[in-house]
């Protein structure tokens, strides 16, 4: 079975200059954990994961502390809004460039393997560099167990 049989051809994407507010809104509206960033020409620019998005709210040193069980909240840090630099972030600054991609004629098993290796849950499908679809772990489960008809 090829990817073209189970990928989503209808998907929403971000422009490279989308603001933090735009990004947050699209995460909220779609409920997806990975969003593609598309150039005006239709080429894939990168992907933004919800983890990367949330990370900018956390102070950088938090990963210095291995065990944070002792923390209920972050005190003064919680009241800090973004610094000026942070509020200027746009999609282009947050996105992962050159993310793992798939082609329409790749097999479903390969898609599962690439998703597993890349560590993200949704991967762009491209044809000649242009974004033509998105495939998620859910799409693959559906394809393999035929919950949408076929089998």
């Amino acid at each position: 079975m090829d990817i073209r049989d189970c990928m989503k051809r209808e998907f929403r994407f971000l422009a490279p200059d989308a603001s933090l507010r735009d990004i947050a809104r699209l995460f909220e509206e779609t409920g997806e954990a990975v969003l593609p960033v598309r150039e005006e020409t239709g080429e894939l620019a990168g992907v933004i994961t919800i983890d990367d998005f949330l990370l900018i709210f956390l102070p950088a040193y938090i990963d210095l502390i291995r065990n944070i069980d002792f923390l209920h909240d972050f005190g003064a840090i919680e009241q800090h809004s973004f610094s000026i630099e942070e509020s200027l972030f746009v999609a282009e600054d947050l996105m992962r460039e050159e993310p793992a991609v798939l082609a329409e004629n790749d097999s479903v098993m390969k898609a599962a393997a690439v998703l597993h290796r890349s560590g993200i849950t949704r991967i762009p499908v491209v044809r000649d560099g242009r974004l033509v679809g998105m495939i998620s772990k859910n799409d693959i489960v559906r394809a393999l167990y035929g919950t949408e008809g076929q089998h």
Binding site: Y61, L71, G75
Partner: protein, 442 residues
Amino acid sequence: MTAHAVIAIVVFVVAYILIITERIHRTKIAIMGGVLLVLLRVLPQADAFASIDFNTIGLLVGMMLLIGVVKETGIFTWVAIRIAKKARGDSWRILLWISIFTALASALLDNVTTVLLIAPITILIAEMLDIRPYPFLVAEILASNIGGTATLIGDPPNILIGSATDLSFLDFLIHLGPPALLILGVTLLVLRVVFRRELSGAFVDTERVLAGMDETKAITDPVLLRRSLVVLSFTILGFVLHDALGLKPATVALAGGGVLLIWSGTDIEKRLEEIEWPTLFFFMGLFVLVGGLEEVGVLEVLAAGVLRLSGDVGVLSLCVLWFAALASSFLDNIPFVAAMIPLLARISVSLFPNTAGLDEAAYAVYLMEKSMPLWWSLALGACLGGNGTIIGASANVVIAGFSGKTRTPLTFGNYFRYGFPLMLLSILLSSGYILVRYLLFR
């Protein structure tokens, strides 16, 4: 000068320059340098291996094993939160007690591990209380190097000196403890004045913020913690008694490490991963390099040269103190001290020859007694000198790395403003101490 002497000097100097420039890892250079001396037949292989001081290596291994367990227990986080709570969020008192704890931990464990554990939680507490973290980080750097000065096991230069001279743990504590305490006290007073603005009160509800931290949850494994603290306490007691018991420090450290390996019940592979192999091999290579210099008699020539400048132990001690301090501010103090030790040993033999015809053991005691100011000057200079710049000691570099993730990173320039003058002050105080205790009332 023989061809062997020339080779030994060239290999040593080139290795030294490469270590200083840090383009290639120091361990690689030390190993290659040591091997070169054997390859070029300056040292027979047996002599090269014999020049490795396994008392130093054993002491390091034993302490690394112990520290590897202690560091997983979460005790440092627990202490830091307790301090913040006891101080009721008062930033000066937090800085004071965290610094004292850092100094104490650095005296008993190694400096890098201490700051590796204390700095992140300090940064977190400071940011939670809305205080800038850099005064705390500067204080921790200074406290850790000062604390490390106080004991035989506190800092690698002291381990090297202790191993080479047979000065005991208690000797170090009695002779270096008082100046370390004095310097820590003065440094903290100066910091209080320097940082008075940064430390003038937090602007958040400290009670609520502090209540948001539950230190009991920081302890990941209470059983392991209790066991490691028991073993650590007995090991330190062992250090205090090692001379009286006729044991070398390495035996004590390895005994502690060995007991904890069995008692902690953790996987041996995991425990051995905690050992810093690059450090151990660096020491081994360095010992061979210095062994080469000793073998070819270069140090006698150097010692004679130094003695032509002055034959007075007081003048020489103060020169060693200041020279060691300035050198250690910018360079790695381990190779510096490793090379200075055999040099000082020869100088002290020339200064205090066995004119009374004492037997070997009695002369060794006499020599040690007489040359003490030289050794304590080297220890104070090399350890405290590390405070001079942000690259002066490994602990400084670790803290600078952490500070890069805060709003106020420490750089060479902004640390220098605090570190260098305070280092000079500490060496000034040390000079006074050496003068008063060893030279005026000898």
